[in-house]
Amino acid sequence: MFRLCCRHGVSGDAIASAARGNRYRRRVSLLEVTDLRVTLNTARGPAEALRGVSFALERGQTLGLIGESGCGKSLTALALMGLLPNGAQVAGSIRLDGIELTTLAERDWCRLRGRRLAMVFQEPMTALNPLHTVGRQIAEPLRLHKSMSRSQARAEALRLLERVQMPQAATRLDAYPHQLSGGQRQRVVIAIALACGPDLLIADEPTTALDVTLQREVLDLIAGLVCEDGMGLLLISHDLGVMADRVARLLVMYGGTVVESGPTSEVFKHLAHPYTQGLFAARPRLGLPRHSRLATLAGRVPALADLPTGCPFADRCPRVADVCRAAPPPPVAVGAGGGPGLRPGLGHEARCVRLNWPVDHDGLPNASPSPAGTHAASRAPP
């Protein structure tokens, strides 16, 4: 299938016209990801790193992806950008304006990246080329995708730098990345991402490397730009606080699956999935009494090759039962947000078969590293 499409190839113009056609036929989501599965080659053989991720994102909307390292957040972003590591196998579907992306040839990916899909990376120092001036790096996508002349691209780069509120933009145009501070570098990365007016902006931990005060400025900036341009924003973060403020819908990921999804306010209100509860309880919060202990999750994130066949969280879950290990749990509607009749992927859902099982929070398995499973299993409610 993949080879066939590669050989035929899809020209960029064909993509554009198909997109227009689709818009007339029915309302097509800007981005529609259905049952996305990615298999990576590891030292221990192929391992499924994404196990059926589905979501949709419209223009002007914001979607958050949250989870700890190794849960598949960044891999999802890389799959959306067509930047998966060599040897990765993709199944399922990613549609941008109705165009299937998983079968695109590399040449067609190149026409999309930077033009309709753009990404802001976590570490601005490694995302920028230290040998080129920032002006040249911002101009690059403009020269490539918009065929601008050198001087046009430079003028546009200056406008973009001003738009991301770079102080003294005109002089910074000829600066090299090492001459800028962390916050200024991240502004340059954002300017590059915005250069061609993309439809979808993916921001992968855009503020993790920055100070709290800068973090707020950069997030404000991204939010403002998304609002002005009407892009879709996929924000990836491990920071619950950032998510609560910045995105309308939230996906909680664990072990390559979306374990809970819903409107951000609903997710924070119900904290339905035991993993979401664990994440929330483990966060140090201002105002906790001194020396109070934080609730922790037993065990640790299993290696990709060791993910259980059933619920990926089973070995660490305080509510685990035999049924959890048998098969991956289906999504279950939570509260009023997930009533029947709603299109799947719009309500509030959690992949847990024991959603309404009572659990005492203080009783979450504690810090001492215990062999995963034994500890958690013994805590199953009677």
Binding site: S69, D211, V212, L240, G241, G287, L294, T296, R300
Partner: protein
Amino acid sequence: MNPALLVVEQLSKRYRLPRQSLLRPAPQVQALDGVSFTLQAGKSLGVVGESGSGKSTLARLVMALEAPSAGQVRFAGEDLQALAPAALRQTRAHFQMVFQDPYSSLDPRRTVLQTVAEPLALLQGAGRVLSADERRERALQALADVGLGAADLQKYPHEFSGGQRQRIAIARALITRPRLIVADEPVSALDVSVQAQVLNLMQDLQEEHGLSYLFISHDLAVVDLMCDEVIVLQHGRVVERGAPDTLFRQPQHPYTQRLLSALPGLAQAALADAAE
């Protein structure tokens, strides 16, 4: 009253920047400017501020890894800069450091045993010669303190997760049974759930061994949890100090207020809840 464990007086540090022109003196940056504080044994002092505010410079000066431009660091009554190199090396057994990034602070080519036992060389200088068995025994104890076991002694850092590596780094700091641990952003490279485990561990160790922490972090919530007193650094100066309860609820200095108002809404809500 006991003498204070750590006294820092009017500490200043200037760094020379690369010379811009032959005709002008090289520019300097004032990384620390007249910082003073006292840390009692068994207590924890938090240092908060943005990057570039001098937090890490303060850590390096307290660890006597660099010499101050002015001022004094006195550990258990002794001026660290006045000590002869050999004496300083012996005193180092009493103050150890945990770094931010457990991926770069452990030597990938050394086993856990070699890494954790290395600071024991400090004790050997003091005339005590430890046999290989004793070193192993001490390393095992330190690992047991942080929840790791004998099976881990011969492993290499790449075989561990981030949280486990930070435990190894803490074990390395603990092995000489120090009285002070300087922790420079010890949990900021870790995931939320792992962060909780390491913070709990650090609190347990403090209770067990009566440790003092100089705890550097940009995360106000972590400092609030861990520390008895907080100093806020801006441009190398202490702009505000106090107990976290009062400091974070009634910040006086505009900079502290700005740090707090930059927090996401969720954190501010928690603060408001706690104030009620």
